[in-house]
């Protein structure tokens, strides 16, 4: 915990993130370049044809959508238990990114669903629980903006984020628990054809690194904004 608190100090975070950011950003670009190159070089799937290329943007967006929520939940727990101010900033900074990737997973999924299932949308367990994730993000962001006192807003949002965490296992296991149009898990179980695995993994890494890059910049921005607000308060008093 001590190490975490040392680097979670805003000053240390600014120093460390400035050093790490260029490398993460370059790694993101390399993963996207390699992932897209390999993704557009795969043969069509014997069942899904060329729509298999949609997997390389749909699955990574889905992974980041859930990862971002996990990050918010961890930061919220740190905030509630240890009252660490940077964890609130980090949680808040991740929310719009999580919402964006959730929306992308839904849109790319719909565009994959139409040719494969014959419909853009169906109210089944996986799709509905995923839509709920988007509403959780939007509700979380709305709650942050609705409460003026930052400490109270942070507390309320942290509680909301932790309650909403229950949706993540529901999304994950929905394809096993209920009958759904959505296909079951295929990566960990080894059902995916090996030729598709490399581009998928590289694109997933690229999306995760992209999220980390943008998240770090957003936390850095929020720290500067907080300093600016403190200076303005000082000048006014």
């Amino acid at each position: 915990m001590n190490i975490l608190f040392r680097y979670a100090n805003p000053h240390e975070f600014m120093r460390l993130s400035a050093a790490v950011l260029p490398f993460v950003a370059v790694a993101t670009a390399l993963c996207f370049a390699a992932g897209l190159y390999l993704g557009f070089s795969v043969p069509p799937d014997y069942q899904q044809g060329t729509t298999v290329t949609l997997m390389f943007i749909h699955v990574p967006a889905d992974v980041v959508a859930e990862l971002a929520y996990g990050a918010i939940a961890v930061c919220s727990l740190l905030s509630l238990v240890w009252r660490h101010p940077l964890s609130d900033t980090a949680a808040r900074a991740a929310a719009p990114l999580g919402a964006l990737f959730t929306a992308l997973a839904i849109i790319t999924g719909a565009l994959w669903g139409k040719p494969m299932w014959g419909t853009y949308w169906v109210w089944d367990a996986r799709l509905t629980s995923f839509l709920l994730l988007l509403f959780l993000y939007l509700g979380y962001m709305a709650l942050w903006s609705a409460i003026e006192d930052e400490t109270r807003a942070a507390r309320a949002c942290a509680i909301l984020a932790l309650i909403g965490l229950a949706d993540i296992p529901i999304i994950k296991f929905s394809v096993d628990w209920w009958n759904t149009l959505h296909q079951g898990e295929s990566i960990m179980s080894g059902k995916i054809a090996p030729v598709y695995l490399a581009p998928l993994m590289i694109m997933m890494l690229g999306y995760v690194l992209l999220f980390l890059t943008l998240w770090m910049v957003r936390i850095r921005t929020a720290i500067l904004e907080r300093r600016a607000r403190a200076l303005m308060r000082e000048a006014a008093s």
């Binding site: 557009f40 060329t50 964006l100 565009l111 040719p115 943008l214 500067l224 303005m232 000048a235």
Partner: protein
């Protein structure tokens, strides 16, 4: 590389296009907010050294 997606292109290209636009938009928006915050803080620090 093969960009011929056949009849499924009408679903695949919009999905890639929307993803690319959203990601580029997020990058531009994030960097713009960073630059704005940096400029504002610099101006405030200049005014109240």
């Amino acid at each position: 590389m093969n960009f011929d997606m056949g009849a499924y292109g009408v679903y695949i290209w919009p999905a890639y296009g929307i993803s690319a636009l959203a990601i580029l938009g997020a990058i531009v928006w994030t960097l713009a907010a960073w630059r704005r915050a940096k400029a504002k803080l610099a101006a405030l620090e200049k005014r109240n050294p």
